[in-house]
């Protein structure tokens, strides 16, 4: 008898989970995927993979996958299955009606970092060229928008300065607000390899994460800061570098704006940032701040990797600038082994950032207010474009609550579960007259949607992703789209229904259009990637196969120089009080992915069937809590119920949870504060209290949840 799971076909593609973007061979039998094999030639992963990419692929085939378009006039009505033509016509009719009644700017669009570069580019084209406004945003708004802002201000490019393999030349690795062994496991393994070879490790994180201590990994310095004090601690590290003259004067004079360096020295060199002053504020030993500063400045090759623990704060952009300032001051940019590198949460956050799904910039981070840039897009697209920035996603929701914003096209995103202050998001959704949701499943947002376009998974379409090291790799169609259309085709047909004529034979033609309109992508094409496997931007006539390390000779700013921003510490308005004495922070776990839309529909849930609340023993005793007890956690914004786990990973005064499960509703408690520059939500600091409750009725035991997940 033939082996029923023996593959008949193998297609090289790119994993759609985290920002590492591993290459995989997707192997099929008939129209079913039977296994995912890590691709040895993949330049991001060199044949390695994690438990998500390797095993969590079956979601595409989940029984609740929606396979026909749905419409309804009111969110109180049941869904009605319709043809694609009827769904496009209905959604287009509603958007036109709303714009006629409430104005051109009453509608917007949001794309996702789970979409390909081509889809993200098309969604901004839909908003700008077809809806006629710049109300276009993407989910990087709520994760790495401060990266784009903060790094561009200092070093000129909102992207990782290095390729992943660069870490193998590093002597000192500083990880800030990230947990790569869980969140970016394949990169985490590369980091551990370098640590085994003797590299020193500094971790700045409120929680004693798996990166601080686990197999093959132990931090030389762990600054377990109080949530919300990133900028204070980074300024204090800078203070030591300035006062002890550990900076690289030759680099600064050759490569940076010296006057701004002097201004920066005056600010961070002030006594108010001395470790002895900041230590008590951040709840760390001043001697550890000095050790971290000396280690980092001493190199010889020091590199920074950071995550959402830096960005998701009211001073998220300031925190990113601090990292840019540090790299410049110590000359840790422009060669292998050094750098400042964001670890991107989703597979295509970097692409989402690059390709103009922002209300203020076109692809290539060029302002919509700039006449020359706008003209190049107008010439290509044949329409006059709005010269003013549009609304950001949180502003769209604010405007919906106020009544000035009435419709939204949401591609591959679940704002109701993902965005902060869930009650506010739901109020916004309910106030809109037409929400068009384009996704695989009826997610939490679908409860408030009027049109549902059934999308295609990354296994069912062609395109490209840009990973956290700026590497553009091919996403290849492994099986036919289950609902009949690839995502890029859905967006194009929706644009057609709205009255804008355009067509592409394949998404390679969209990438060609991207290349014509975006300097860093000017050399990219399907043909190039098919030929060399992948390419890191900038990819252009000077670097026809791409660029591994940025900033070697100059920074991509007008004068070619790096610069320093003044990064004063401004404490967040979110404070503990008698009523809410604990600080909640959040993170991810190895086996699950973000809000779990995909991984929760796979057997990976056996490993993580529910979100739990980590709490220090001291705080647990003070509340009469035992390990495994159910608790109610309350904030100014709402309350949720989940199980407690007593843990030494969090300090007294800090609690921690993951946000993978819709039923635990972590974002019902998170605050509505956001980054000053980008409105990126402050997910990482919420004042809460925790009280023991009886087991909620109708709650399955943990064991039963595991069994259910395994079935």
């Amino acid at each position: 008898m033939p082996n029923p799971i023996k593959p008949e076909k193998s297609v090289v593609t790119t994993c759609a989970y985290c920002g590492v973007g591993c290459g995989f061979k997707a192997e099929t039998r008939g129209e079913k995927i039977v296994r995912m094999i890590p691709w040895k030639e993949g330049k991001a992963n060199h044949g390695h993979s994690c438990i998500k990419g390797r095993f969590a692929y079956d979601y595409y085939n989940a029984p609740d996958r929606v396979l026909t378009p749905l419409i309804r006039a009111s969110i109180d009505d049941p869904w009605k299955s319709v043809s694609w033509e009827e769904a496009f016509a209905y959604a287009a009719g509603e958007f036109k009606r709303i714009q006629a009644k409430f104005g051109v700017k009453s509608i917007g669009a949001v794309s996702s970092s789970r979409c390909t570069n081509e889809e993200i580019f098309l969604t901004q084209k839909l908003a700008r060229a077809v809806l006629g406004n710049n109300n276009i945003d993407n989910c990087a708004r709520i994760c790495h928008s401060p990266t784009q802002f903060g790094l561009t201000q200092t070093i000129g490019a909102g992207a990782a300065s290095q390729h992943f393999d660069s870490i193998l030349q590093a002597d000192v690795i500083m990880i800030v607000g990230a947990n790569p062994t869980e969140g970016h496991p394949v990169f985490g393994s590369l980091m551990k390899r370098r640590i085994r070879e003797g590299a020193r490790l500094i971790v700045i994180d409120p929680r004693k994460t798996e990166t601080v201590e686990s197999a093959h990994c132990k931090a030389d310095v762990h600054l377990a800061i109080r949530p919300g004090t990133n900028v204070a601690i980074l300024d204090s590290i800078a203070h030591v570098i300035v006062r002890e003259k550990l900076y690289n004067e030759a680099f600064v004079h050759a490569r940076c704006e010296v006057a701004e360096f002097e201004n920066w020295k005056a600010l961070v060199g002030d006594d108010k940032y001395a470790p002895e002053v900041i230590g008590p504020i951040a709840n760390v030993d001043p001697a550890d701040i000095r050790r971290a500063a000396r280690l980092y400045a001493g190199g010889p090759n020091s590199t920074i990797y950071y995550g959402l623990g830096v960005t998701e704060h009211s001073q998220g952009s300031t925190g990113v600038m601090c990292l840019g300032n540090l790299g410049l001051s110590c000359g840790m940019l422009g060669r292998e082994g050094v750098g400042v590198n964001p670890l991107r949460g989703q597979g295509n956050v970097q692409g989402g950032s690059c390709l103009g799904s922002w209300p203020h910039v076109f692809s290539g981070y060029r302002f919509v207010t700039d006449h020359a840039t706008r003209s190049s897009f107008e010439a290509e697209w044949g329409v006059t474009l709005d010269a003013e920035p549009g609304l950001r996603l949180p502003n769209m929701l604010d405007a919906a609550v106020a009544g000035s914003f009435k419709g939204m096209y949401i591609m591959g995103e679940d704002p109701v579960q993902s965005d902060p202050n869930q009650h506010h998001v739901i109020a916004a959704m309910k106030n809109m007259e037409c929400v068009v949701l384009h996704d695989l499943f009826l997610n939490e947002t679908s409860k408030y949607a009027h049109v549902f376009f059934p999308g295609s998974s990354s296994l069912e379409k062609d395109g490209t992703f840009t990973n956290a090291e700026r590497r553009v790799s091919r996403v290849r169609k492994v099986i036919e789209p289950l609902a009949g259309l690839q995502d890029w085709e859905i967006t194009v047909k929706f644009m057609n229904a709205l009255g804008y004529e355009l067509s592409y034979d394949n998404p390679g033609e969209v990438l060609d259009e991207i290349a014509r309109l975006s300097p860093n992508y000017s050399g990219m094409s399907f043909a190039l990637i098919d030929q060399i496997g992948s390419a890191q931007w900038p990819c252009n006539k000077d670097a026809p196969q791409g660029t591994e390390v940025l900033h070697r000779e100059k920074f991509p700013r007008a004068n070619g120089l790096g610069t320093f921003m003044l990064t004063d510490y401004v404490p967040t308005a979110e404070r503990t009080s008698d009523r809410f004495p604990l600080l909640l922070t959040t993170g991810r776990i190895l086996t699950q992915y973000n809000v779990g839309t995909q991984t929760r529909r796979t057997p990976n849930s056996v490993w993580h069937p529910e979100d739990v609340l980590e709490i220090n023993e001291q705080d647990a005793i003070a509340r009469g809590l035992q390990d495994g007890d159910w608790v109610q956690m309350s904030s100014r914004f709402g309350q949720i119920q989940l199980r407690a786990r007593i843990s030494e990973r969090v300090n007294p005064g800090v609690v921690y949870t993951t946000f993978h499960h819709a039923k635990s509703k972590a974002n019902a408690v998170t605050s509505d504060l956001s980054d000053w520059a980008t409105n990126c939500p402050e997910y990482k600091v919420t004042a809460v209290d925790v009280v023991r409750i009886r087991v909620p009725t109708g709650t399955a035991s943990l064991e039963a949840a595991r069994l259910e997940a395994a079935e």
Binding site: G103, A129, S314, F367, V401, F564, V570, W676
Partner: protein, 98 residues
């Protein structure tokens, strides 16, 4: 179709709640506080001009015209430069210019 202007309401309606506008503006002011007054005002102007929807800017300026209660003085100074054509500059990245 893309260029149709808003025919009816929308323009008169505030784009979002005023307290949201004011708290965002004050946060921007906090960031630029370490810069000397002239650069601080320009930093605030450039940020509002480059990143804010014009309706949000109008709402802020109308509130300033009505007295600007709840706004820090440097924010008012920076926002007012939006109305002064002599201060118009193309958007830019980097430290505020003098």
């Amino acid at each position: 179709m893309a260029q149709t202007n808003s025919p009816t309401q929308g323009a008169e309606m505030p784009v979002m709640a005023l307290d949201r506008i004011l708290s965002m503006a004050n946060q921007i002011g906090d960031f630029f506080a370490p810069y000397p007054p002239e650069r601080r005002a320009e930093g605030i102007r450039n940020h509002l001009r480059t990143y804010w929807d014009p309706r949000m800017r109008d709402q802020l300026l109308q509130h300033i015209a009505a007295g600007g209660a709840g706004l820090a003085a440097p924010v008012i100074a920076g926002a007012k430069l939006l109305q002064d054509e002599a201060h118009a500059k193309p958007g830019y990245y980097g430290p505020p210019k003098a």
